[in-house]
Symmetry: C2
Subunit: 284 residues, 2 copies
């Protein structure tokens, strides 16, 4: 049987006596003016805000002056809280009846570890909601002024992570690297060598264009136009580290004439040979 349900309205300001609640908020990629109005309003109502290291200080100006602010780090390196400690802390604060905000960079639903925090809240019967944020791929495309999709050439966007254990096998990207795809890799800067190899194994030539966008939407935002083969060395030389996204377009060949995914021919299941045209700018 199918089930139909009305999706919930935002409840972050719904007062329930003595009952705390948790709002997971996406702060977007950095710039404070890429917050949504809903996020701003929710920050102004919070009693306590747990925020990531990547959240810009200006974003916190929307938190009311009486609220508690707690930096949980949550990036590779020192002073980061392990995820289970964050889970416990936000739940404990909500159980005290407080309005808790968990403020994350980007969108909580995309590589934001939100599933664990939602599960922890629900296990204690705590109300939880998610307020979406601008994800880095959208913001990078906006800053480059080059869309992620392009009618007739790019009809799907793949948001992937390159995070894995150091000694694992290279990725199997064969299925992703097909004509018509824009690949965006998050948190990839420490794995660029492995990513290059994997993309090559999937059929992309070493001279296939790649664009790296670092610190998207922040004052120091910059992009690097390079190739799949050289991106690791070029990023190292330019001092580009996380946060950054790697964008690799595998466009359909010009004149392919297939206007959308469902129009993709049966025979074209191979990798991207002959479709090396990249819609990202050659020099931004």
């Amino acid at each position: 049987m199918s089930r139909i349900a009305h999706l919930p309205r935002p409840h972050f300001d719904a007062a329930r006596r003595g009952r705390g609640r948790i709002s997971l908020i996406g702060a977007g990629p950095g710039a404070a003016d890429l917050l949504t109005l809903r996020a701003v309003r929710c920050l102004g109502l919070a009693d306590v805000v747990f925020y990531d290291r990547l959240v810009e200080p200006e974003v916190l100006t929307h938190v009311r002056s009486g609220a508690t602010r707690i930096c949980v780090g949550k990036e590779v390196g020192a002073h980061a809280w392990p995820q289970p400690r964050i889970d416990r802390a936000i739940v404990a604060a909500a159980l005290e009846g407080r309005r808790v905000v968990r403020l994350k960079s980007g969108d909580p639903s995309i590589f934001g570890r939100a599933a664990e925090e939602i599960a922890a809240a629900r296990a204690q019967g705590i109300e939880v909601e998610v307020i979406p944020g601008i994800t880095a791929a959208s913001a990078a495309a906006a800053e480059l002024c080059r869309p992620l999709t392009e009618r007739g050439r790019i009809d799907r966007v793949v948001l992937a992570t390159a995070t894995c254990r150091t000694d694992d096998a290279p990725p199997d990207l064969g299925g992703l690297v097909r004509p018509g795809a824009m690949l965006v890799f998050y948190m990839a800067m420490h794995r660029l060598g492995a990513l290059s190899e994997a993309l090559a194994a999937a059929g992309l030539g070493s001279d296939h264009p790649a664009t790296i966008c670092a610190e998207v939407s922040r004052p120091q935002a910059r992009s690097l136009t390079t190739t799949v083969g050289r991106m690791a060395g070029d990023c190292a030389a330019a001092g580009i580290t996380n946060p950054a996204v790697v964008m690799v377009a595998v466009a359909k060949a010009p004149g392919d004439g297939t206007p959308g995914l469902l129009g993709q021919g049966r025979g074209r299941t191979s990798t991207a040979a002959g479709s090396q045209h990249d819609p990202l700018p050659s020099g931004v």
Copy 2:
């Protein structure tokens, strides 16, 4: 040679005498409070706003009273402007020295036809910028309170369109339907039968779960929990039409133990048999 560049700052309020400019703004999926602060500010500065049929009236309250508002339709059906007419109109208004906003639902960079408008502007030397918006997949995940990624189970998100010519071959989704992927199909409601067939051909069983989220973030937002085999009939019975997204999770098997894309084993390049667990709720 690689090239590095600083990404541009927003320029929508930079006055240049006698020179118009165009801002492509993402209004998000519907709810007016999912606009970003940057979008609100830009709307307040515009001289003329060209907006889509799917933009909610409340969003337009941010447009200053003296500005011209022009609905360009841009949905299937009557009274929609063809894309080339939109391109010409926004460019013509900018050439008159006006601050032009092209307001689109969702994110302009994701299935927003922004590439054509950017190209038209640049061909006339018009300054153009993109202000990102919350895309429907992010908003649907937030409303369902179920993230698009989940550590160890779903490590990539595919945003695809099911729009194509009616008589085209079914899609080749073999590469997309692999363990670890969350598939989100935009603008698919008139092609659900073909999408079902394509997903089946790619290896998903007809009883594989699918969730359809319609009119995400609007007052009438609702979700339908169904299966790949039944989704066309169930959506027809429930009267669900566009705008909606179809979400199909192809999780890794529990205990798979591969924490991310780069850890995906070489041997698992087949389709999703044995990985039918769906992280979306069985009843939202």
